[in-house]
Amino acid sequence: MIQFEHYLIVSALLFCIGLLGVLTRKNLLVLYMSLELMLNAANLALVAASRFHDNLNGQIMVFFIITVAAAEVSVGLALIVALFRRRQTTNVQDLSELKL
């Protein structure tokens, strides 16, 4: 029988795959996709919790997360576009203005 833990483990693994992408990939767009993966991991955990605790509030939360993620992606992508116009690159290694 599939238990709550199993969903949580899938969620954790999904989160870590997203983290791995954020840490290793150099393309900003892929980086964003990895972020989406991490958000989805959270979604999965919430839906599972909602199901196993017999409570719909978790699904509402997921609903909100999806909305926020959509907003975030739209702004983030707009930023990438603006950045690309200026620097002609989407590679994070080329973005090191934080260093003096």
Binding site: F15, S34, N40, R51, I60, I66, V75, R85
Partner: protein
């Protein structure tokens, strides 16, 4: 029994596709990543269905696969990014990334398994993630967050338009 089978299938599909999003050995093309992201999202929608979250499964497919990924593809095409040139990845960065992600995964899974969190789960769950009960809660208990969320979307839209304008004046 059949439920277990479905779970394993969708879970494996989700994880493999997600892995291919971030680390595709054959292609570094962002479009490929985007496509695998679509597959991931759809597999997750399958998991949602298994969890009785029918409405969310639909939203997941519509919003993510339909809107977000399309947005990604638009941007990729807009920017005319040729395949990521095969820059030599820094070994150190890759290994350290794998190490950190792995450590976090091990810690999280160990914590989940040792916490006995499943014991708190309801023995016979009955909820159905249909639009009607969800809508009732959403528009009754969560009305204010919902409205704030709509403002957030408006702001994000304005921001996105402002940022992608050619010259800000």
């Amino acid at each position: 029994m059949i439920e277990t089978l479905f779970f394993i299938t969708f879970a494996l599909l989700t994880l493999i596709c997600a892995l291919l999003v971030v680390a595709n050995p054959f292609s570094r093309n962002p479009v490929t990543s985007a496509m695998f992201l679509v597959l991931t999202i759809i597999s997750m929608a399958g998991l949602f269905v298994l969890l009785n979250a029918f409405f969310l499964a639909a939203v997941q497919v519509v919003v993510y696969a339909g809107a977000v990924i399309v947005l990604f593809l638009f941007v990729i095409m807009l920017l005319d990014i040729e395949e990521e040139e095969r820059r030599k990845l820094k070994q150190f960065s890759v290994y350290s990334g794998i190490l950190v992600a792995g450590v976090v995964a091990v810690i999280a899974i160990t914590a989940i398994l040792s916490s006995g969190i499943g014991a708190y789960a309801s023995a016979s769950p009955v909820i159905q993630g249909n639009p009607a009960p969800l809508g009732k809660i959403l528009f009754r208990d969560y009305l204010l967050p919902f409205e704030i969320l709509s403002i957030l979307l408006l702001v994000a839209m304005v921001g996105a338009i402002l940022l992608s304008k050619k010259d800000l004046k």
